[in-house]
């Protein structure tokens, strides 16, 4: 078992418990968050959905933003 935090910037942060062989994609699925329209970061670095996660990891969904308002 491992615990991973998943943050969708501007919205929410969740902690999910996962099997030891979990990936970024399964973490997002467990957090009920979709990556469409976001950059996905694993501990700050761009990542693929197939990357393995470890306990303590932070997955971040980063939106594309453009304002100066």
């Amino acid at each position: 078992m491992q615990f991973v935090k998943v943050a969708q910037l501007g919205k929410t942060v969740k902690e999910v418990s996962l099997d030891t062989d979990a990936t970024v994609a399964t973490a997002l699925e467990a957090a009920e968050l979709r990556s469409a329209g976001f950059e996905v970061r694993l501990n700050g670095a761009p990542c693929a959905g197939t990357e393995k996660t470890r306990s303590g990891d932070i997955i971040t969904l980063v939106p594309q933003i453009k304002g100066g308002h």
Partner: protein
């Protein structure tokens, strides 16, 4: 004469901030940034914007009630003068690919198209020593700080460019809030201070005040 005694061991304006700074966009990102830069000790500041102050700008930009209807560059220049004695040079026009830029250039504009235009004037421009591009969306911000003559920095930055259509579509009532623009101005000034002092500065800062997330690369 401003006395910078309280900050001299953090940054000494005479020693570290003698370069010119150009701020493009005088809205939520640009207006507090210009004021903070001047208060920090930057004395050679230029501001670019062709907009006028509107009522809905007052809650999250550094403008006064009496500034409504005035050109932002004029009002901002006066505000900064009142607070600091520094009078920024005013350009009430947009920056395009042919605009001559130099020194430290800071972008706080409202669209990716405007960023593309600024980038054409900045990319591999040896007169621009550092380029800071800040982007805001509600309580989220992304700040890029690069040297535009460094091929690695150029490639890194160009990977962050996208179209306006690819950006998050935020409702008009959820675009900006005063505490976020102060955070952005603070981080931009910190980047400028690091540059002036010859300290390492991150190329990318992403933060979100909703989830209190911070990414620094």
């Amino acid at each position: 004469m401003t006395d910078f005694w309280r900050q001299l061991d953090i940054v000494n304006p005479e020693e570290h901030l003698g370069f010119s700074v150009t701020v493009i966009g005088c809205g939520g990102i640009g207006s507090p940034t210009v004021l903070a830069l001047a208060k920090m000790g930057c004395a050679d500041i230029s501001v670019h914007d062709d907009d006028r102050v509107e009522d809905h700008n007052l809650p999250n930009q550094i403008y006064r009630l009496a500034d409504v209807g005035e050109l932002k560059v004029d009002s901002l220049s006066n505000v900064v003068l009142d607070f600091t004695g520094v009078k920024p040079l005013r350009y009430s026009q947009r920056v395009g690919p042919a605009t001559e830029l130099g020194g430290v250039v800071i972008s706080g504009v409202d669209s990716m198209q405007a960023r593309q235009d600024i980038w054409k004037a900045v990319r591999y421009n040896p007169a621009v020593s550092v380029y800071v591009d800040a982007r805001m969306g509600a309580e989220v911000c992304r700040i890029y700080t690069i040297q535009p003559t460094d091929p690695d920095d150029v490639a890194f930055y160009e990977r962050t460019l996208h179209t306006d259509g690819e950006a998050q579509d935020l409702p008009c009532t959820a675009k900006a809030i005063i505490y976020n623009v102060f955070m952005i101005a603070a981080l931009i000034c910190s980047q400028v201070k690091k540059f002036g002092c010859g300290q390492a500065h991150p190329r990318e800062i992403i933060f979100d005040l909703v989830t209190l997330s911070l990414i620094v690369t």
